[in-house]
Symmetry: C2
Amino acid sequence: MNIIFGNNASAQLESLMVGYDNIFILTDENISKIYSSMLASLPYKKIIIPAGEENKNIDTVNFIWNRLLEGNASRDSLLLNLGGGTISDIGGFAASCFKRGIDFINVPTTLLAMVDASIGGKNGINFNNYKNQIGTFAEAESVIINPQFLKTLNERDIKSGLAEMMKYAFIADDSFLDLDSDNYLSYIEKAATIKNDVVNMDFKESGLRKMLNFGHTVGHALESYYLDKENYLTHGEAVALGMYSALYLSVKYCGLDSQWLFFYEMWFKGNLNILNLKDFDVESIFSYISHDKKNKNGSPRFVLISAPEKPQIDVEVSVDDIKEAIFILKDKFSE
Amino acid sequence: MNIIFGNNASAQLESLMVGYDNIFILTDENISKIYSSMLASLPYKKIIIPAGEENKNIDTVNFIWNRLLEGNASRDSLLLNLGGGTISDIGGFAASCFKRGIDFINVPTTLLAMVDASIGGKNGINFNNYKNQIGTFAEAESVIINPQFLKTLNERDIKSGLAEMMKYAFIADDSFLDLDSDNYLSYIEKAATIKNDVVNMDFKESGLRKMLNFGHTVGHALESYYLDKENYLTHGEAVALGMYSALYLSVKYCGLDSQWLFFYEMWFKGNLNILNLKDFDVESIFSYISHDKKNKNGSPRFVLISAPEKPQIDVEVSVDDIKEAIFILKDKFSE
């Protein structure tokens, strides 16, 4: 898979589109408004879906498949996914099942998608309120990372991306420990490259790749729990909280020096917004963990660390300790 | 992929099921009635869907995904697809997308599924009345072929399978030219092995594997056209007709000796039922061909042969000739 990075990355798109009989752009209503004149100038069919994680479901996939059929998409057609992680997740899934798989290119527009979601071939949709239960492994032909798109992001979206970038400090590269909300632009290419390198070593997530799930066990549970609530959490916010739980459990299970728990609490408070965790209910949040795809034989497994850059995968954690690691989040990070 | 063949093949199933945390059997209402006591004796969760190609759609897939979730299926669970081609098509697709892919085993109960549909990793569902528009490539861990299941098949189902078996005479092994409705049992293992060998050489159908589509371009169009009609065609019947069209075009485009067209007409009349092709409408049937997944750049491509065992893939055929090759079917093979 091909990562193209830089403020002129979009200019290279044209050369990647040669040889397809039909090109479709998938994007959401928000992006189609912000970039309406750019989109109007492109001679491709547009498929526009409602924005938001709550639309990442099989009904929206059916809508996309219908548009592709109506537009006479063939096996030699291309889908270009323009948007955040929701768009690359649902677009990658729709493309991977349409006529048993057509090519797609991701053009991430959010920080989170640039450094994580658009890379690595994991796609999926939510099903019955559970995150990404349905999906495939299918890699984009290329990922085009153009930081110009970040100019239209709001602060909340930027901060969501920061958390996933800080993850790389703990699992793979401690130079990310200096990351903050002022210098993050200089870390984007490095973050995308780490993600791609890890994925290439273990595409189907049989081992090593699992390290990328650091913070995601509790993170996904929080995200699912708040999905249909007024005070929903972005994926990045949920993972930011989940990483605190993971560090907390790392101290207890893997001998992580507790200074790192304190370091991360300070980093979180200095760089991310204070969150509204109204209706925080430990038992309900925990119940989502038992449906996590990463469970083996029904028992929840965590990615923890013994030190920065030293991930430990498949650590079995007791139910009581998981609940404790959820419980402390509200006190630490809510207003 | 592992093919296990013989009247005792089912006995080997148990050893294949070791190591899974949860096992689900997918089957249809007809099979669950015929084999109710056998199924009741198996300590696995059953997922029972309505029988018939008309239920091979996304709603049924949603139903299967819901049953898997409710039954706490994990990435380490197994789906056992017990039934004809419809069951392995929909079950393989559902398994390949559930939590980004769980293992599945096919246990074909029809002749057609034993020699073709259950082998090769192509799965799929119909979408908007078009055949198999949505699906993935995902191979079963094993295929268990137990000819005992054929005892409960009706004559129409056996004859449907015969046509797909005769296909191998034209594309791969002329010993199948002696195949008939009395000796077919002795050809099953050989047919399954040919299918598996061809698939292994070209899993994603970039070239060689396309030969297996001999007869399927017109066949799929006929099957789609009659799908919701009273006088529907089985897949095998539709392919049997489609093979005549393909042989007809082979004479015109590839220099096939016209004796083979005559040979096949006689074989069809001697071994398959006379069909009811009421409401046969050439234009409507042709319209399905323009949506065929095998088209390249919008122009219909055919698999034809220059002689038995000499397939030619991607042959471009004129619209008029395709319509002619459809038109003659009603006169030749209808009552």
